[in-house]
């Protein structure tokens, strides 16, 4: 079979793509009208479960960008069992993440020993003003609704090895 010149092969590729786009639709989506769902693990925004946070500062300290700001104070809470001692708990006054600085590395979520921080795949929170990128604990708490369940693991995974 004689060799087809590369020039014609190239024309064939573009025409083939043309035909495929016409018959099967484009590979792109029309963003504001239709949206692709990001994967479950997608690191979109960090959600805060305030009840779990003991303001231990671990996340703020391990943040490479220094973008987490925490303030807290100690308080006495009523005992859990009747007749017990009053417990000393840490109350969270301020928990801010500056998303203008955040580099989405996920170290804070990893180091949190009390499961207070979670990744949510939500990504539509751009702001016209850079100052609004600082999310306070209320806003971070609202993201909790969007946190999905962790995905099932692939076959052969060691389930207990996980935190």
């Amino acid at each position: 079979m004689p060799k087809v010149p590369g020039l014609f092969k190239g024309l064939g590729v573009t025409l083939g793509t043309f035909a495929r786009t016409v018959t099967q639709g484009a590979n792109t989506v029309q963003y504001p009208h239709e949206k692709e769902t990001p994967p479950i693990r997608s690191r979109g925004v960090i959600a805060l479960h305030e009840g779990n946070c003991t303001s231990c500062m671990l996340c703020a300290r391990s943040c490479p960008d220094w973008c987490i700001y925490i303030e807290g104070h100690k308080e006495l809470a009523p005992p859990r069992r009747a007749g017990g001692k009053p417990r000393q708990v840490n109350m969270l006054d301020r928990f801010d993440i500056d998303y203008a600085l955040c580099m989405y590395c996920g170290i804070c979520v990893d180091v949190c020993p009390f499961d207070a921080l979670f990744w949510s795949p939500e990504y539509e929170y751009s702001e016209p003003s850079i100052a609004d990128m600082l999310h306070d604990k209320v806003k971070l708490g609202e993201w909790m609704e969007t946190v999905p369940e962790a995905p099932e693991l692939e076959v052969g995974a060691d389930k207990k090895g996980k935190k």
Partner: protein, 390 residues
């Protein structure tokens, strides 16, 4: 520069003697052309100051640093896990591959090794980031040479790979998935099946690119014989990766050194090309994408069961010592020379990035070419600005 440089210049002068005579007769005056830092051919912020004679380059001075972020300094104030998050920004297209040598160096210093399953998954993700990186190169190559369609095909099919990386790691561009002692997490269910289908798509993409671009006679006439790098010059300049293999050096760090990774467990081939010109560099990269899809396909079939994390302390302190680990990254050899003094963070990290060495040849290589060939050669050398400037 050296004797070899002169030799090449002499051959260039001989081959262009007619042009030179014309120029002498016409007494054409030179012109300095400033290419970059904002220029589409420098994909990033590289600046090339070129002295032209007509459209021929007399000398060039590449000037980098417009994106210098000082990673070597930044690593000194960060702990080991924080450095991992940082270094995957060096070559932002193949980011997972940046993490691996650093983690391996730290593991070497600590004397631990990741479990077998983690090694396999690391290798898979490493090759996926190579595919994501080089497939974009294949598309970008078209744009640099004036063909506008390949880049969209590259973006289209790279998206599948990025989706895979995001599905497993959570980050499209900056996975930060590698941990000292293993991986952050295991793969999500269904990931392996998806990988198989995506690898088929990628091979079809390679065929399309080959038909659309590599087989095209215009493309060949633009790249063949342009920017020839002889073997010994390539070695002297420390070129690496496909640039070196295209000059006929059969050297691939994946094959030629023993690392706790899974490359030695699969059947694959190191591609070389004897020509050393732009076409050879592009062709070798195309074959490497194909080879990577084969590596990934074989590896996903043989992932061993088990944990993905070995036992490491929660607060990682690396014992005193020095370690050098390099891997065959998408752009070439990337290595980290890690000096630890037993602290939470490294004492000094020397980042040896591939593009810095690959680009250091340009003052020599671009002498005597035409302005359009600057673009061809820069595209075929394939650099990422973050990888030059670090």
């Amino acid at each position: 520069m050296t004797l070899l440089g002169d030799r090449q210049q002499l051959s260039y002068i001989a081959s262009q003697a007619a042009d030179a005579r014309v120029n002498l007769e016409l007494e054409t005056e030179g012109m300095t052309l400033n290419i970059g830092p904002q220029h589409p051919a420098t994909h990033g912020t590289l600046r090339i100051i070129a002295r032209l004679d007509g459209e021929q380059v007399v000398w060039v001075d590449p000037s980098c640093g417009y994106m210098h972020r000082g990673y070597e300094k930044l690593t000194e104030v960060r702990t080991y896990p924080q450095v991992t998050a940082l270094v995957n920004r060096i070559d932002w297209l193949g980011s997972f591959a940046n993490e691996v040598p650093f983690i391996l160096a730290a593991e070497k210093l600590m004397g631990i090794e990741a479990p077998l399953r983690a090694q396999h998954i690391r290798t898979i993700l490493f090759e996926l980031s190579r595919i994501a990186n080089v497939s974009l190169f294949l598309g970008d190559l078209g744009v640099q040479l004036g063909a506008i369609t390949p880049v969209f095909m590259a973006f289209r099919d790279r998206e599948y790979v990025l989706n895979l990386i995001e599905g497993a790691t959570g980050g499209r561009f900056h996975p930060n998935f590698d941990r000292i002692g293993g991986l952050k997490d295991d793969l999500p269910a269904g990931w392996i099946d998806e990988t198989r289908t995506v690898m088929k798509k990628l091979r079809r993409f390679c065929d399309e690119i080959e038909d659309l671009l590599f087989g095209n006679e215009i493309f060949q006439s633009r790249t063949r014989g342009i920017g020839v790098i002889p073997r010994d010059i390539a070695l002297q300049y420390g070129m690496s990766g496909a640039n070196l293999r295209a000059s006929g050096v059969d050297w691939d760090l994946r094959r030629d050194q023993s690392l706790p990774m899974a490359w030695d467990k699969v059947d694959w081939k190191v591609w070389t090309h004897p020509d050393g010109d732009s076409f050879a560099r592009c062709w070798v990269r195309l074959q490497e994408v194909r080879e990577s899809t084969r590596i990934v396909e074989q590896l996903v079939d043989t992932i061993p069961a088990g944990p993905v994390m070995t036992k490491v302390p929660r607060i990682i302190k690396v014992p005193e010592g020095e370690a050098w680990v390099c891997t065959e990254n998408p752009l070439g050899e990337m290595g980290y020379y890690v000096v630890s003094q037993g602290d939470l963070g490294p004492f000094r990290v020397k980042i040896r990035s591939a593009s810095f060495n690959n680009m250091s040849i340009t003052p020599w290589l671009l002498k005597g070419v035409y302005v359009p060939d600057i673009v061809t050669i820069l595209a075929s050398l394939y650099f990422i600005l973050g990888d030059i400037d670090r």
